[in-house]
């Protein structure tokens, strides 16, 4: 029973119940460097984001010594940033969580193992991101505990393309 979600109405509701939007895009070419905001980024199928530290073949990231095929692009919920401020009084900007794509209206934790459209690109969610001390070190903010279970989503890129701020995010059937 716990190996998959139910078939039937619940599954249909989960698939049809959301449409989200890309709010912020960020990337950095090397470990530790501040993330820089972009209006658009180029996702390369099977590899990653052009110019980002974790693009497969670049290996310039803090975790690049632990290679992971399913970590080509990372997403984060804007709602988590709102909740951090509301519930914990922590102001964490979209450039500080160090994931690439900040989305709004997308239930990231429900998408592991599923495919969805990020603008014109098709992604497959591989696993939930986990909080890391590295972010605390870089931001100087005590965010490890508050980010448990909501620190984003790792994805592989099935179909590449340009993703822009304002693009729609929706389920792929």
């Amino acid at each position: 029973m716990l190996d998959t979600i139910s078939t039937g109405p619940a599954q249909g509701a989960a698939q049809l119940g959301w449409t989200g939007v890309v709010r912020f895009l960020h990337l950095a070419p090397r470990a530790f460097l501040p993330m820089r905001a972009a209006e658009s980024i180029n996702l390369v199928a099977g590899r990653g984001i052009e110019g980002d530290r974790y693009m497969i073949g670049n290996e310039e990231g803090f975790y690049s010594h632990k290679p992971e095929e399913g970590r080509q692009v990372t997403l984060f919920e804007l709602e988590t940033l709102v909740a951090l401020k509301r519930d914990a009084g922590i102001v964490l900007g979209p450039e500080e969580h160090r994931r690439n794509v900040t989305v709004e209206g997308v239930p990231l934790n429900h998408l592991v193992g599923r495919r969805f459209w990020l603008g014109e690109t098709l992604l497959e969610a591989t696993r939930l991101s986990v909080p890391c001390r590295h972010i605390e070190e870089i931001t100087g903010k005590a965010i490890f505990d508050p980010l448990i279970n909501r620190s984003g989503l790792n994805c592989r890129i099935l179909q590449g393309g340009i993703v822009k701020v304002g693009d729609t995010v929706r389920n792929a059937a």
Partner: protein
């Protein structure tokens, strides 16, 4: 594929400028001119030099100047080797890994007036502060620069000396100034800070002993020797990731024991004030002797250069 983790910010030397007797200014930048990790005024970084030495230097540019790190290095012929390596072996284009910036003064603190006391090349962290305060105008400040005769970084300080922001005290002409008179009585909204050689830092500590600790900031060129409890007992370090067990002898530092055991640990000041050797701990009763970790950080981290253990076994996240 790189097997080794990336532990430093990659920079290249983009500028070397002579700045007075035996002093050079080095400018470090990202290879693609990307912004560098941010820093507070007066912060410092560790340089991981190509010859393996790790040395700490204050940043002397201001935080808004975020695409470069500028350090001033005085060549100390009889020093520990870091300044000689920088002066003699580093050229434009040399790649140097640096740590994330640490320390510095909180630019948002409610301070209306700063009094800085610097000895010689100890002026560098205050140059960053002065530039920040000049640009933002958020607080009044005065910098007392105590030198034997020659003013270091004269080209960079000249304008501020003319404006009266920096007061130069030449000990060759007027003797040592009275530090108590320089820092004055102070008050709730005044912060005093000192960076200088050992004797000056000790004197400064004495004359500010009655001040609230949060309003006194002291940086020393060389970390004071760590104080080790004569009743210290030996203990065992268990390394959670590698499974290794390391014995720490009574009075020995964890850092020394780890290094003897072949564990690579970046360390710099070895006196609990620079923060380079911060390690996570998982189980045990660490005794913190550093001067920088907050109570919150101490719940998870310790500084292996000075910390001890109050139990026979301490588990580290290594």
């Amino acid at each position: 594929m790189k097997a080794r983790p990336i532990t430093t910010v990659k920079t290249v030397v983009t500028g070397i400028e002579a700045a007075g007797a035996g002093i050079k200014l080095f400018t470090l930048a990202d290879p693609d001119a990307w912004e560098l990790p941010p820093f507070k005024p007066g912060a410092h970084i560790d340089l991981h030099l190509p010859n393996g030495l790790v040395r700490t230097y204050s940043l002397c540019n201001e935080p808004a100047d975020n695409s470069r790190y500028v350090i001033a290095v005085k060549r100390e012929a009889d020093g520990r080797g870091g300044s000689r390596a920088l002066h003699d072996e580093i050229d434009i284009g040399t790649v140097i890994g640096v740590s994330l910036p640490r320390g510095g003064l909180d630019p948002d603190a409610r301070i209306a007036r700063y009094v800085f006391v610097a000895g010689g090349i100890g002026v560098t962290p205050f140059l960053s502060m002065a530039r920040h305060l000049e640009r933002t105008g958020q607080a009044d400040y005065k910098l007392h620069l105590i030198v034997r005769e020659e003013v270091p970084l004269a080209d960079h300080l000249g304008a501020l000396i003319e404006q009266g922001r920096i007061v130069v005290h030449r000990t060759s002409r007027t003797g040592r100034p009275d530090l108590a008179a320089l820092v004055g009585e102070g008050g709730g909204d005044t912060l005093v800070a000192c960076c200088g050689p050992e004797g000056m830092a000790d004197d400064f500590e004495r004359v500010t002993a009655a001040w609230p600790a949060a309003h006194v900031h002291i940086e020393r060129f060389v970390a004071p020797p760590p104080v080790i409890d004569p009743d210290a007992k030996p203990f065992t370090l268990s390394l959670a990731r590698s499974g290794a067990e390391i014995q720490v002898r009574a009075g020995q530092t964890m850092l020394a024991a780890l290094q003897e055991g072949g564990i690579e640990i970046a360390a710099s000041c070895c006196g609990g004030i620079c923060g380079a050797c911060k390690v996570g701990w998982i189980e045990g009763k660490p005794v913190h002797r550093d001067r920088i970790l907050s109570p919150y950080e101490r719940e998870r981290y310790l500084m292996v250069c000075v910390a001890g253990s109050d139990a026979e076994r301490l588990v580290l996240d290594l």
